[in-house]
Point group: C2
Chain length 218, copies 2
């Protein structure tokens, strides 16, 4: 498959350092699937707000959810928003302050966050979110009830107006600075999973399930 090299819109076109731009869907999906944490940008009284939340992808859409009473969810419902996902992969230390940088992967999606109305669809989507993180967990849980589904807003955003940016590798210094006796390189960063602990209220015989033990290990 040929890589998409053209931005879907002028406002998602990467203007600076455009050698870092990623417009093909596989590249965008890989970042979305690697990082559930996202930041939603929305307007309240004309002022931009940014709220962290979690996203999950199904096909050509990303979803996020929260309390129906949440200001962020209410302001995002059927409104134009920006959903940004970012992974910090490392600090890039150069021979001058100016050329210090970071290695990262990020995706920005613009569009209208559509409210999912149908309770059955909402329930399926919410279960998919949990299954995506911990395969097999939903079957072990007390199912969502009608009131809980009603109290939850699920928003759906098409991955149509989206672009990604990726930086990787070594610092890029000015030619003459390579003659200076300065350490330059990369300090890699990554997010790791700690040791799970239970809440001290498990019934006798309940053990740590595989979906918890395996989380983040693949």
């Amino acid at each position: 498959m040929a890589r998409e090299t053209k931005a879907p819109s002028e406002r998602t076109r990467v203007k600076r350092t455009n050698q870092r731009a990623v417009y093909d869907r596989d590249g965008i999906n890989a970042i979305l699937d690697a990082q559930p944490l996202c930041h939603i940008g929305y307007l309240r009284d004309g002022h931009p707000f940014v709220t962290p939340t979690f996203q999950w992808r199904e096909g050509d859409r990303v979803y996020f959810h929260g309390s129906a009473a949440s200001q962020a969810l209410r302001a995002s419902s059927n409104a134009d928003i920006c959903l940004t996902v970012s992974c910090l992969d490392g600090y890039v230390l150069a021979r001058s302050g100016f050329h210090h940088s970071v290695n990262y992967r990020s995706v920005m999606i613009l569009g209208k966050a559509e409210v999912v109305d149908d309770p059955e669809e909402k329930n399926t989507l919410l279960n998919n979110f949990i299954e995506g993180l911990w395969p097999g967990r939903v079957a072990t849980l007390r199912p969502n009830n009608d009131q809980e589904i009603k109290a939850t807003t699920v928003l759906s955003l098409p991955i149509s107006e989206a672009s990604a940016k990726v930086r990787d590798g070594n610092p890029v210094d000015d030619d003459e600075d390579y003659d200076l006796p300065i350490w330059a390189g990369v300090i890699p960063m990554r997010t790791v999973v700690g040791e799970p602990y239970d809440d001290g209220r498990l019934l006798d015989g309940v053990t740590v399930p595989d979906h918890v033990l395996k989380f983040g290990r693949s």
Copy 2:
């Protein structure tokens, strides 16, 4: 010192789960100082955008910077923005899907991002950012030149209209769900520093400096 329990403005007041609200400056500063990665919300043509970047705090202000040619920096300059910092500390697994949650620390700062004009002040601030991450590094670097300082925009945001939210600890399940044989607890998450590597172009005798070896170890 008494803890501040009142929000600085209606729009930074935490409305939902307000037992998680943090309004005192020490609590807010601790989160800002723990996490340089931030997400800036700004407007372009009336549409909200969210761009990841880095912040550093000096006293009652946070600063961020970027290329003077950056769309995000240009749109944020002397404009009302939202700067959000978030740390994901763990996934909270409950006995129902509904009560799944996350442990996190986040700060939201609203205000006008003021452009720092004075080249000397810009240079000092940019050096402070590097020193904050890697104490002692600036003295080892080729200094910034006038053109580099001119090509960099530094923005300053007062920490006046700010609030934080923190969740910690175990899941909170419905009373009757504690009788179910379901594993519930926390999967901690943290960001770790990997092994630094140089760019393969060091001069003979240049070794890894302490500020690199010690990064993230304190």
